[in-house]
Symmetry: C2
Subunit: 291 residues, 2 copies
């Protein structure tokens, strides 16, 4: 028989969203579009008031926290951790708490520790979606439609984990994720340094060339694509990058070395070497895409 708990039991399907930025706002809109009750907290009150007009059922006050079956921590890494530490005792037994943060080692380690001795479960999550714009104004109910969701399961037996995943999938059904990928926090952070973090650094570095200000009338799709995520939230990405410094530094070292090889071949007018470098990248890209 389970141990008696002082926390209230949750209302099935009720969601709490902590932080109404691009991600939190999109979760809230998706839940609401599916008829779910959504209670939200946001540091900036005016955003919450705006959201309450059509998206959010009400404020995620301390007395509402214990009625949520799912809580989504959608703020910056440190603010997500701070909220969970402060509110840990108020969360209902059996509830699931997820985050949406782009790094997972520091988050999962800390939040798993916070969850110890409580009846709710923390599951690290990283929805692989977004735009170069931030804030509630750019959030939308269809943000996650078809996108991969990376899930970091807590440490527990395989069967229990499978049940938890099924429940989580059901709770997140309104988001219409295209796939759920299970990973360890370590694998996630290693891979994400390449697929997401490096893309943002490279794109941001790309526009630092003095030529960036002279290109009007000369740019096509390749420039647009390479620089789309140059526009970014510097505060948030600084925190994410430093929480994954080891992996991101490795990826940066790797691309700097690669770029230097092309530069050397070009400076030496070494056509066969340059062609082989380009053909190798072409080959890898085709292989990776399964073409």
């Amino acid at each position: 028989m389970p141990e008696q708990s002082s926390t209230t039991s949750f209302v099935p399907g009720r969601c709490g969203v902590v932080g109404l930025g691009l991600m939190g706002g999109s979760f809230a809109r998706a839940f609401r579009a599916a008829g779910r009750e959504v209670f939200a907290w946001n540091r900036t009150r005016s955003t919450l008031e705006l959201a309450e007009i059509e998206t959010v059922t009400g404020e995620l006050t301390d007395d509402v926290i214990g009625t949520c079956e799912l809580i989504v921590l959608a703020g910056y890494p440190q603010s997500a951790i701070d909220w969970l530490r402060e509110k840990a005792d108020l969360i209902a037994d059996g509830a699931i708490v997820i985050d949406t943060v782009g790094v997972k080692r520091v988050i999962c380690e800390t939040c798993d520790k916070i969850s110890e001795g409580h009846g709710w479960t923390f599951v690290g999550c990283h929805p692989m979606a977004g735009t170069q714009y931030s804030g509630f104004a750019h959030s939308r109910a269809t943000m996650f439609k078809g996108a991969p969701m990376v899930v970091i399961p807590p440490k527990m037996g395989d069967l229990e984990r499978a049940d938890l995943l099924e429940r989580l999938k059901e709770l997140l059904a309104p988001c219409q994720f295209g796939s759920f990928t299970l990973a360890t926090a370590g694998v996630h952070d290693h891979v994400i340094a390449f697929t997401s973090q490096l893309a943002h650094v490279v794109s941001n570095a790309y526009v630092k060339s003095p030529t960036a200000r002279e290109h009007h009338g000369f740019s096509a799709g390749s420039y647009r694509d390479l620089t789309r995520v140059a526009q970014l939230n510097a505060t948030m990405w600084t925190e994410l990058f430093l929480d994954n410094a080891d992996n991101l530094s490795d990826e940066l070292g790797s691309i700097i070395d690669s770029l230097q090889q092309y530069k050397d071949a070009i400076d030496e007018k070494d056509a066969p070497r340059l062609k082989e470098l380009l053909a190798e990248g072409d080959r890898i890209k085709r292989e990776v895409e399964g073409r």
Copy 2:
């Protein structure tokens, strides 16, 4: 009174296309869709035969060359130059010859010289459009719709140049370019090293990371965008890069330096410095886009 010429006079609006790859095929399709007569030459005969079924009026044989008002050199840089040198005497007085090559100094200098003493005019052109796929099979009539066209005018008086541009615009009307940008070959090559060539090198280098093969289920739009043009025609780009080696080497040096600055800040866990580097890129991107 103009000097007597031995070349035949052209059929108004008749187009010749030299090389039926992605670019040449798209020009041919656009001309044909607008009801123009299109004669084409292609090294690989099977492609020409395929094109003759629905796109091309006939083969651009030596006796047809002199009947074309517009000739589009759509092959690789060296092959475009070779064709023009061999056929220079066959081209009609008053005809306009353009190329579509992605570098302009070497092309324009050589082709301007070839045109000396002839009654036709060479105009360097670079349509800022394309895809990561090459070949006639991927060409389409709408390839250039809305795209910028960069034009390198030949050396002549301003008024004459304006007339020429109007005639060229009319001849290219079926392509529906979004804008025509006039530039010198030097400015073109300087800017294109940044907007197009660097994008291809960076994208191609991006997938060289060992992590590239492990990312299934972890990638979102930023990775897709950064690596879209990693797949490329290595032979063609080698020639284009080496014809613009000075500019491209400068751009590569610039982005390598920039990337090293982020890496240093990350390795030193210098949050204020990293944030400033990111904010600077964000600022430039917004400025350049006029936001």
